[in-house]
């Protein structure tokens, strides 16, 4: 089975937020208590990804001299082709941060997760959010449970315009390049994000109609932290089964110490 992917052609997004609500509906996530959207700007609410918000629509208002732009972007897990979160997950032998064999979707197995936060710390996009009450990591599941049944993710199903399109990665990349060419023809400066990022790319492929400077929260050169190897090394003595969030926390602290020392040296 070819690798699945999703196109996020943000030129076709009109910020209806159907994806955000469909995500909550399918995953049975509760509404957050929000207030007026002054903090985040635009009409954005809630203020960030959270244990009850896996998909979030961001608004970017740009006041240029001759023209106002209002850009939109769906924010959530990028579903990396080579996911650092899975590598970082210390739960062994079956990872809590699971790469589903059948669909390739990466999701949190809540039964196994110890809420240590390693996945978040090593995510190049800092996407996972730790539900501190339940001690579980949370994020977009790529609707692995829907994919297993041969149906597309809930967000893509809800999207009215074809901004979110689910399919096979080569075909999605081709669509992304077509969308980019269309935008260039109109004199815009589109960016494909997710094709080559991190070397192997991601399965969420963005077409952003404007350069990355217009989207200040998008990570410009995402990288997996070099300390991932060190972290894995330092964890070894603890073995997979005895791990607790506290132990992993201690190791993560240790990694940080080493890193800081390295930085001082250099």
């Amino acid at each position: 089975m070819a690798e699945k992917a999703m196109l996020l052609d943000m030129e076709k997004c009109m910020a209806c937020r159907g994806c955000q609500v469909a995500c909550k509906a399918w995953n049975e996530l509760p509404a957050e208590k929000t207030t007026f959207f002054a903090v985040a700007g635009g009409y954005q609410n809630p203020i960030g990804l959270s244990p009850s918000t896996f998909t979030l629509l961001k608004f970017y208002e740009v006041d240029e001299r001759d023209k106002v732009r209002w850009l939109f972007r769906v924010q959530r897990c990028m579903q990396c082709v080579d996911p650092a979160c899975v590598k970082a997950c210390p739960v062994e032998p079956v990872k809590a941060m699971t790469r589903d064999e059948k669909t390739g979707a990466v999701y949190v197995n809540r039964e196994l997760c110890i809420g240590c936060g390693a996945c978040r710390d090593y995510c190049p996009f800092t996407v996972p959010v730790i539900d501190t009450e339940a001690s579980k990591s949370t994020k977009c599941t790529f609707c692995f449970d829907r994919l297993a049944e041969g149906i597309q993710p809930a967000c893509a199903k809800a999207c009215p315009t074809g901004c979110l399109t689910f399919g096979e990665r080569p075909q999605i990349l081709e669509m992304a390049h077509q969308a980019k060419a269309r935008l260039e023809k109109k004199g815009r400066r589109p960016v494909i994000y997710g094709e080559t990022e991190l070397g192997t790319g991601t399965k969420k492929i963005y077409v952003l109609p404007e350069p990355l400077d217009y989207y200040p929260d998008v990570v410009k050169n995402p990288k997996v932290s070099e300390s991932l190897g060190l972290f894995r090394e330092l964890l070894k003595p603890f073995g997979g089964l005895a791990l607790t969030a506290a132990v992993v926390g201690m190791v993560l602290g240790k990694v940080k110490e080493v890193k800081e020392k390295d930085q001082v040296k250099s």
């Binding site: 910020a15 208002e61 106002v68």
Partner: protein
């Protein structure tokens, strides 16, 4: 819509004006996006930069209430620069018709105005007839009295500079629209106009829409694929409710409501049935008697006979205007004692809502049928109201949602789509059909027991949708709407067979052919396209009339039946044997035999529209409340608008209220909020009432983004959070800068998300033709909330 949702994909240019389609009709953008993928240009004309504007190639800001000036300016440019489609004008519109030489226009007034009555006598708004009663025409378009020349003269006053000074839109932007949209005047190109309540909710709302329709006619964009004049209707099934006449001025199928002057059926039919001498005009409304008698047979069955004028006297006859504002004014004055509100929440959605809430206080009884207890149902318990002071008896009927009941829903594209009940309604909630069925059955019993002077209209009503208290049979209703051949008992195949002798019935002639002996057409789900492959999908659901997906479609062809746009043809003549191919043609006559606009008595679309109350050509007038003097004439307000001057009908002026305001909806909320403010996921997205304003206004008033502010008008004041945004900019009108703010109108005092109602601010004034309230342009002031 003359066309339909999917057809938007066929457009070469899409102008969204008076509509925020991306936010309020998100599905439309499926097809807008497809058109844009194929190279179509999108123009968004709006006072504020919306989520629609965010997607547009061209954003064009115009001040609220200046659409006519804007579109007249665009049309003027198109006429002066020969961008119009001349062949289309000559063959399909009344451009060639000669008008009475006594017709004229001076200083904002057409001939025949009676200032005391605020009404026009239309004696001069007429065509010139020859000795045979035929309209005189000039196919060269040169005669100074022909519609084309009169229009050109009328529009010549709207030059770019003038229009810029009225609309606040830079003249370069107006020019760009004129050129870009004007390019669809090429024969094989098409442009579509999508509009909604941003167009209609003005004192000049009808004329706003007329300017759009006229622009489409000038460019030959009506009847073609990717064209048309397309009303994006405000609610699910509001098209169905209009078709079936949930309005005071029409009967089902847009038949006219009888007036007190129409004392007999013969008098009514004489007044309601248009006559025309030209044999090439199909004058479709000449069938009015057949549709009327068949409707009366559907209403009263065997009790409707030739001897009793088919029960014509059972129909109420109107003497006045019973639109929303009139009703609430009458209620406020104590003339209306009872009110049934089904799925409506006027205590949030009505204009000048402080007055409308007070009007509810004066009712003896109120029935509210809704999914939740709305602000209307709970008016007696509103903040600041002492329930002890209210004598109204309130009945709350829990109602089923659309997904909980079977029936048809007609969308904006006139498609009637049958739906099955997905789930059962919760608790005691019942379908509207069940509620009405029970009310009628009880009423009938009451009138049988105690007949009073005139029980027949109720006692003899033809009402057979199931016994007792069971859920009525929606199919029985749908079949009644379609109608029967009463001799055979068979369902009618189409309205062509309806008769005026009492042998046929039809609850709505426009829906005749929707439920035939072949089955329930609205339930069809065959996704096969028609031969022309333009997305008509003729076997998917059913559309009125007679499953014609694009109306006036013969206007997509020349007089030989050849399509103007062969690459996206709608219909074409294939010869005397095989006749028309493609969509169901607007009449099956061979090409050239009958004119294409069959619903107009003269058979040609009207650039000169003498049917309207306020003039045959659109003219710019200012809203009731405006910061400026009308730059076009000394007529400040549309001269045919009714002025209300009762208690609580105060009008604000620019000295006290210098800021223009408008109201609107957002994607995340729905209408008066009962369905969305009770949904936690949607409340999360839009938790509070807010007001959007420019950075310059905020700076002038010392307001920061996120501050609580107070918005005041002559009617009331509200508090809201300030959204300070670059998406709002001041307008330069005649050299001076004016600010405009915007308010969503979804909030009220019930539900999970509560907030002030924007309609506390809006005035009680309506359009000159339809009385739709002017929600979209009024004056206010904004200050920072202290403490």
């Amino acid at each position: 819509m003359t066309n339909h949702w999917i057809d938007i994909k066929n457009a070469d240019c899409i102008m969204i004006i008076g509509s925020n389609a991306a936010e309020n009709h998100p599905i439309s953008f499926r097809w807008v996006s497809k058109a844009m993928e194929n190279g179509a240009k999108l123009i968004s004309v709006d006072p504020r930069f919306t989520r629609t504007s965010a997607r547009a190639d061209l954003y064009v800001p115009i001040r609220s209430g200046s659409d006519i000036a804007f579109v007249n300016g665009v049309m003027s440019y198109i006429l002066e620069n020969n961008l119009y489609n001349r062949e289309y004008l000559v063959d399909h519109t009344n451009a060639t018709y000669l008008v009475d030489p006594n017709f004229g226009f001076t200083d904002g007034l057409f001939t025949g105005y009676d200032a005391a009555k605020r009404m026009y006598a239309k004696d001069t708004w007429q065509y010139q007839l020859d000795e045979n009663g035929m309209v005189m025409r000039d196919p060269t378009l040169q005669d100074p009295n022909c519609v084309f020349q009169l229009l050109k003269k009328h529009l010549s006053r709207y030059n770019l500079e003038k229009v810029a000074s009225i609309t606040g839109c830079p003249s370069e932007a107006i020019l760009e629209v004129a050129k870009t949209y004007g390019a669809t005047g090429a024969k094989d190109k098409s442009g579509t106009i999508l509009y909604a309540m941003g167009a209609t909710q003005h004192t000049v709302g009808t004329q706003n829409v007329r300017t759009y329709a006229m622009l489409q006619l000038l460019l030959g964009n009506v009847g073609v694929a990717g064209g048309g004049i397309n009303a994006l209707r405000g609610e699910s099934n509001v098209q169905g409710s209009t078709d079936h006449a949930i309005l005071f001025h029409i009967l089902p199928g847009y038949l006219k409501t009888p007036r007190v002057e129409n004392q007999t059926l013969a008098e009514y039919l004489e007044a309601a049935t248009p006559k025309w001498n030209d044999p090439k005009s199909a004058n479709w409304w000449q069938n009015t008697p057949k549709y009327t008698v068949s409707l009366l047979k559907a209403f009263w069955g065997d009790s409707a006979t030739k001897d009793n004028e088919f029960a014509f006297q059972y129909l109420p006859k109107v003497s006045g205007n019973y639109s929303h504002i009139s009703m609430f004014e009458a209620m406020y004055d104590g003339a209306i004692k009872g009110l049934i509100c089904m799925g409506q929440n006027p205590a949030v959605g009505g204009p000048n809502v402080e007055k409308e809430r007070k009007a509810l206080h004066k009712l003896s009884w109120l029935v509210a049928a809704d999914l939740w207890e709305t602000e209307t149902a709970a008016f007696w318990n509103a903040p600041g109201v002492d329930p002890k002071s209210i004598a109204t008896e309130v009945f709350m009927l829990p109602a089923a949602a659309s997904m909980e009941k079977e029936g048809s829903i007609t969308n904006s594209g006139r498609w009637s789509q049958w739906r099955y009940a997905a789930v059962h309604p919760p608790g005691d909630a019942k379908s509207d059909l069940w509620i009405l069925d029970q009310i009628q059955k009880e009423l009938k019993k009451l009138y049988q027991a105690d007949p009073g002077p005139f029980p027949d209209p109720i006692v003899r009503l033809n009402w057979n949708y199931g016994p007792g208290a069971e859920e009525p049979d929606a199919h029985a209703v749908a079949k009644e709407i379609n109608g029967y051949d009463l001799a055979t008992g068979k369902l009618m195949a189409s309205f062509a067979g309806l008769k005026d002798d009492g042998t046929t019935s039809s609850g709505n002639w426009l829906y005749c052919a929707s439920y035939t002996e072949g089955g329930n057409m609205a339930a069809r789900r065959d996704p096969t396209d028609a031969a022309n492959n333009i997305g008509l999908y003729p076997k998917w659901s059913w559309c009125w009339p007679v499953n014609r997906r694009i109306i006036y479609n013969r206007a997509s062809c020349d007089l030989q039946g050849n399509p103007y746009a062969p690459n996206k043809w709608v219909v074409k003549w294939t010869g005397p044997e095989t006749k028309w191919a493609g969509d169901v043609p607007d009449g099956g006559w061979p090409p050239g035999e009958k004119y294409s606009f069959i619903m107009k008595p003269e058979g040609h679309a009207r650039l000169f529209g003498f049917g309207l109350a306020d003039g045959p050509f659109p003219e710019h007038y200012e809203p009731l409340e405006t910061p400026v003097k009308n730059a076009m004439s000394s007529q400040q307000l549309d001269p045919a608008v009714k002025i209300w001057s009762g208690e609580m009908d105060d009008v604000g002026t620019v000295d006290k209220y210098p800021v223009i305001a408008t109201t609107y909806r957002v994607t995340e909320m729905w209408q008066a909020g009962q369905m969305t403010r009770n949904n936690a996921w949607l409340v999360e997205l839009m938790p509070d009432m807010f007001v959007e304003m420019s950075k310059t206004l905020a700076q002038a008033r010392g307001i920061q983004h996120g501050d609580k502010v107070r918005v005041k008008t002559a009617r009331g004041e509200i508090t809201a959070f300030a959204v300070v945004t670059a998406r709002f900019k001041p307008f330069k009108l005649n050299g001076k800068s004016y600010e405009q703010i915007g308010l969503p109108w979804h909030y009220g005092y019930k539900g999970l998300a509560t907030g002030a109602s924007a309609n506390s601010l809006t005035p009680h004034v309506g359009d000159a033709n339809t009385m739709i309230p002017e929600y979209k342009a009024f004056l206010c002031d904004v200050v920072k909330e202290v403490g």
